[in-house]
């Protein structure tokens, strides 16, 4: 059997296969795809609209964190002479603790907020 014979055999096999014709099917597939496309566009548009708000929120959170840290350091500076020496903390250790404390508190509170509704 040659290559041409095989091609004829396969072509005949293909030609004799009958499939139900559903004229409305391509339009249905088109509408399904178009709907998904419109939905995707809408989601992307919303994301684009929300981007400045998300960016603003993040910037505000960073500013608030930096402000909080500055306040803590300032409070620490006033306490330094009277109290820190008595509990055996060096100024550097106390400053590092203060810098870590605020993010730790924020993280704990935000984690609690996420976990509590499900418990």
């Amino acid at each position: 059997m040659t290559e041409d014979d095989l091609a004829v055999l396969f072509a005949e096999s293909r030609r004799k296969e009958d499939w139900p014709q559903t004229p409305e099917l391509p339009a249905q597939i088109w509408r399904r795809a178009r709907t998904a496309e419109l939905l995707d566009e809408e989601i992307r548009r919303r994301e684009r609209r929300q981007r400045p708000v998300i960016f603003g929120r993040r910037a505000a959170a960073i500013a608030a964190l930096l402000g909080g840290e500055a306040l803590l350091l300032e409070a620490l500076a006033t306490l330094q002479d009277q109290t820190l020496g008595s509990v055996g903390l060096t100024p550097t250790t106390a400053a590092l603790l203060a810098l870590v404390a605020l993010p730790a508190v924020i993280l704990t509170v935000s984690m609690r907020r996420e976990v509590v509704p499900y418990t």
Binding site: M1, A7, R14, P26, A27
Partner: protein
């Protein structure tokens, strides 16, 4: 591709795609479902070339990928059921169909694309995601097995 263009493309390729899928998976209902999904994904991909055959090749590639996904999902490759011969209507179609059923799915895909669709080795490699050099060897093996089965059928 706009709606009228898509409808024309569908009319030109639907039977070809469904026949390809049913020859590879052996299940008409599955072939119809996968064909619909393939057209949907084709539209969603935004792929559109002036050459209709290039679009068809891309569609066949999606169809083949969907078949592979389906098989991965069910964790087994179903053997294609051999068609019951119809009395007085023994045709080459039945012989080819039955012989293909005894081959591996990849062999069925390669043979169908090569001999029913007239794909080149490079085009088969693109559709099945294998190296063009491998296609030559794998296709030769598949053809040898098919011929052996067909000759056994004719004895």
């Amino acid at each position: 591709m706009d709606e009228p263009e898509f409808e024309a493309f569908y009319r030109a390729t639907a039977d070809r795609l469904r026949t390809y899928l049913v020859r590879v998976c052996g299940d008409r209902r599955l072939a119809e479902d996968l064909a619909q999904e393939a057209y949907y994904r084709f539209l969603r991909s935004g792929f559109s070339r002036a050459d209709g055959e290039e679009n068809a090749r891309y569609l066949f590639k999606i169809g083949g990928n969907l078949l592979n996904d389906h098989w991965t999902e069910v964790k087994k490759i179903t053997a294609m059921p051999a068609e019951e011969p119809i009395a007085g209507a023994a045709t080459n179609r039945l012989d080819v169909h039955a012989a293909l059923g005894a081959l591996k799915p990849t062999e069925r895909q390669m043979l169908w694309l090569a001999y029913a669709e007239g794909y080149s080795h490079n085009e088969i490699a693109g559709a099945l995601g294998v190296r063009p050099a491998s296609v030559r060897v794998l296709l030769f093996r598949a053809k040898t097995r098919l011929l052996r089965l067909l000759q056994g059928d004719l004895k």
